[in-house]
C-alpha cells in the first residue's frame, strides 16, 4: 500500500449518500519532537470490520490508535469516523471520544473506584444516565463477561485478566461505534491472555468494529478481516490474514514474521 497525497479539498469531507465507512484515515503524520512516528498513514475500515495492526515495537501502532482517539494531536492528515471528520478544527473533542472506545495495554482502571463505579463513571457523567440506570446497564455487561461477582471489588484486588476485562466493559459502557485495542494482552501473565482474547472474539462475533494493535499473531489470524503491517510509521502491507501471514510481499514483513516465528509466537 503506497502513500497517497492526502486530498485537502472539502468536497469529500462529509461523504453523504453512500453508507459511511466506520473509519477513514488519510495522510496521517505525527511527530514527537524530531522523531517522526507516523509518516503518512492511510486506512479505511468498513463497519463491523476487524483490522489488526502488527509490527515491531516502536513502529507506531500505539501512536496511531491514540491519534484516532484524539489523545495525541496530529500534525497532518485527517481522520473521519462514521462520516464526521474528527480532526476538523472546532470539533467537540469530548463528544468524539464518546463514540470511540479505547482499551490500554496497562488497563488504566481508576484505582480509587470500585469495578462498578469504574464502569458507570462515564455513563453517569457524560451520557448523564441516572445512577440506577447506569448500574443496571453495567451489571448486565459485567455479567456477560463473567465479572458479576467482582462489581464491588477495587481494581487492585483483581487479576490482570479480570482488570483488562473490566477495562473493556468500561469502554463498552459508552456504547462506542469503534473500539481501539492497544496491545491489551501484553501486560498479562501468559495464562491470563486467553480469557481476554476470548472476550474480544465475542465482540467480533457481535459485529463490533475494532482496530487492534497486537503481538498475538495466532489471534490476529483468527479474528482479523484484514491485517496491516506497520513499519517505521507506514502501513507497508495490508490484506487478509492468510496473505499477510503466509505470503507476505514485502521483505520487511517477511523479516518481521520470521523473527516472530523464531521467538515461537506464531
Amino acid at each position: 500500500m503506497s502513500d497517497e497525497p492526502s486530498p485537502d479539498s472539502d468536497a469529500a469531507s462529509d461523504g453523504h449518500g453512500a453508507p459511511a465507512e466506520a473509519l477513514c484515515i488519510e495522510g496521517l503524520h505525527k511527530s514527537f519532537g524530531q522523531l517522526e512516528v507516523l509518516r503518512g498513514i492511510d486506512l479505511v475500515m468498513a463497519e463491523h470490520e476487524v483490522v489488526c495492526l502488527i509490527g515491531a515495537s516502536g513502529s507506531g501502532k500505539s501512536t496511531l490508535l491514540r491519534c484516532v482517539n484524539l489523545l495525541e494531536p496530529i500534525d497532518a492528515g485527517r481522520i473521519v469516523v462514521g462520516g464526521t471528520e474528527i480532526t476538523a478544527p472546532g470539533v467537540h473533542v469530548d463528544r468524539v471520544r464518546q463514540r470511540i472506545g479505547i482499551v490500554f495495554q496497562a488497563f488504566n482502571l481508576f484505582p480509587h473506584l470500585s469495578v462498578i463505579d469504574n464502569v458507570t463513571l462515564a455513563p453517569r457523567r457524560v451520557r448523564k444516565l441516572p445512577r440506577a440506570k447506569a448500574e443496571s446497564e453495567a451489571a448486565e455487561l459485567l455479567e456477560r463477561f463473567g465479572l458479576a461477582d467482582k462489581r464491588r471489588e477495587v481494581p487492585d484486588r483483581l487479576s490482570g485478566g479480570q482488570q483488562q476485562r473490566v477495562a473493556i466493559v468500561r469502554a463498552l459502557a459508552m456504547r462506542p461505534d469503534l473500539l481501539l485495542l492497544d496491545e491489551v494482552t501484553s501486560a498479562l501473565d501468559p495464562e491470563l491472555v486467553s480469557e481476554v482474547l476470548d472476550v474480544i472474539r465475542g465482540l467480533a462475533a457481535g459485529g463490533m468494529t475494532m482496530l487492534i494493535a497486537t503481538h498475538e499473531m495466532g489471534f490476529a489470524r483468527d479474528i482479523a478481516d484484514r491485517i496491516g503491517f506497520l513499519d517505521e510509521g507506514r502501513i507497508l502491507e495490508m490484506g487478509p490474514p492468510r496473505e499477510i501471514l503466509s505470503d507476505p510481499q514485502e521483505p520487511r514483513t517477511r523479516q518481521f514474521l520470521q523473527r516472530v516465528l523464531d521467538a515461537g509466537r506464531l
Binding site: Q98, F104, A106, N108, P111, H112, L121, A122, V126, Q163
Partner: protein, 280 residues
Amino acid sequence: MTVQRAARRRGRDTRAVRSSVIALASCIVVFGGLTWIVVNAPGWPEVQTSFLNAQVFWDTLPGLLDAFIINIQLFVTAEVLVLIFGLALAVMRSLHGPVFLPIRVLSNAYTDLFRAVPGVLVIFILGFGIPGLGLIDPKTDQRLFGILALTLVYAAYVAEVYRAGIESIHPSQDAAARSLGLSRLQSLRHVVIPQAVRRVVPPLLNDFIGLQKDTVLVSFIGVVEIFRYSQIASAATFNFTPYVAVGLVFVVITVPLIHLVDWLAKRGFGSGATPSGAVR
C-alpha cells in the same frame, strides 16, 4: 530438637531482657543527668517560682482555656477556607494549554508571594490596612482579618501540596478518563483529584499544625486570644507561668495531630494506592 528450640527461646528472652535493661538505664542516666544539672543550677529557685508556679498555673488556666476558644475559631475557620482556596489555586496551576497562561501566571505569582512574606506581616498589613481604607465599619471584628490573613498565607502552602499530589497522578489516568468522553474538568474532579487528595493527607495535616500554632500571631492586631491573654495574666501576676501553660495547651492539642499524621502515613495514605499498572 525441642531442647534446642527451648535453648534458642531462652537465648532470645535473655537478649530481650538485657536490651530493655540497657534502654532503661540509658534513659535514667541521660534524663536524670539533665534534670540534676537544671535543678542544681544557681538560678533554679528563682526560675522555678517565676516559670513553674503551681498556684499561678491553676489560677490562670480557666481564663487561658476560655481565650483558646478564639484560637480554635480562628484555625477551624481558616482551615476550611484554606482547603477550598488552596485547591482552587492548585487547579488553576494545573490547567494546561496556552489559553490558561494568565491564570497559571496569576496563581504562580500568588503562591510565590504569600510563601515569601512572613505571615505576621500579612496579619499586620491586613489587620491595620483594610480598616484604614475607611471602606468598612471600623468596628469590624479583628478576628476576621486574622482569619483572612491566615487563609491567604496557608492557602499558598496548601496549593503547593495539592499540586504535588495532582502531578503525582500518572497521565494515563487522565488519558483513560478523557478517552471515555469526560471533559478536562470532569477528569480532574472525578479521577485525578480524589486520588491526589488521598496521597497528600499527611503533608496537608502538617501544614495545619503550622496554621494552628500561627493563630497566636493574630494577637498582634488586638485579638485577645490565648497568647495575648497569657501576656495580660503574666503582667498581672508578675509571673511567667502563664506562658508555660500556653505551651502546654498547644502541646496537648497538637501532639495527637502529629501522631494522626504518622498513623495515616503508615496506613498507606501519602504513599497512595498506585494506579493499577501505571506504566505505559
